[in-house]
């Protein structure tokens, strides 16, 4: 039930602000379900995959998906994500969580001033 609530919140905010659902899913899994940072991050990625597929279909119908540009940014990301995932396994959970908190503050500042 909590998971459904997390999903609904994530989907709503992600559509509202154009941020991926992960920025909502990970904090809620940490705070509401008391998961550790690694499990929360990993499970969030699997959930975002489903949401992104459904979103792409909706945008593609309106002709708002450019495959070439998606490859230009998405393929480098697909390479670096593997390295970052490996690095994440070596970090202390506490370190990941504090870095994530700093990352959220950075995004907040950016959203505020943009």
């Amino acid at each position: 039930m909590r998971l459904v609530l997390i999903g609904l919140t994530a989907g709503f905010f992600s559509a509202l602000f154009g941020v991926g659902g992960g920025i909502v899913i990970v904090p809620l899994l940490l705070l509401l379900c008391a998961w550790d940072a690694r499990t929360a991050a990993a499970t969030s990625l699997s959930a975002i995959g489903l949401t992104a597929v459904s979103g792409v279909i909706a945008y593609a119908i309106h002709g708002d998906v450019r495959v070439g540009y998606a490859a230009l940014v998405g393929l480098p990301a697909a390479v670096s994500v593997a390295g970052a995932t490996a690095l994440q396994q070596r970090l202390h959970t506490r370190t990941i969580e504090l870095l994530f908190a700093a990352f959220l503050v950075g995004i907040a500042v950016w959203l505020f001033v943009r």
């Binding site: 998971l3 609530l5 997390i6 999903g7 609904l8 994530a10 989907g11 709503f12 905010f13 992600s14 559509a15 509202l16 602000f17 154009g18 941020v19 991926g20 659902g21 992960g22 899913i25 990970v26 904090p27 940490l30 690694r38 499990t39 990993a42 499970t43 969030s44 990625l45 699997s46 995959g49 489903l50 949401t51 979103g55 909706a58 945008y59 708002d64 998906v65 450019r66 998606a70 230009l72 940014v73 998405g74 480098p76 990301a77 697909a78 670096s80 994500v81 593997a82 390295g83 970052a84 995932t85 490996a86 506490r94 504090l98 994530f100 908190a101 700093a102 995004i107 907040a108 959203l111």
Partner: protein
Amino acid sequence: MTYALAVVLGLAAGVVAGMFGVGGGILFVPALVALGLDHHAAIGTSLLAIIPTVFVGTWRQSRYGNVRWRAGVVIGVAAAAAAQGGVAVAIALSDATLRRLFAGLLVLVAAQIAWRTRAQDS
């Protein structure tokens, strides 16, 4: 030059995706806007770029045994459904005000996570 910047932002998006479990859209969207796409096309294209990123990320994380599949499916399906409603509200409300409210919320969440992490430590 813009293409090089887009690739760098793409690499950075993969790093935050792997480290924190976000999709990378937060970096894809500005990169795509810098390439000249309008807001809607940037979001639609960003969603497509997220797919290979989270596919590789989920695959690697599952090898490390960190993915809870059932929870992932429940959250993903609920989020996909709610996103449809979110789009309708997004059109109706003021963009700047909402963005700032969300920014404030993120700071509170960050403080809460940092607080919890420190509390567990002691």
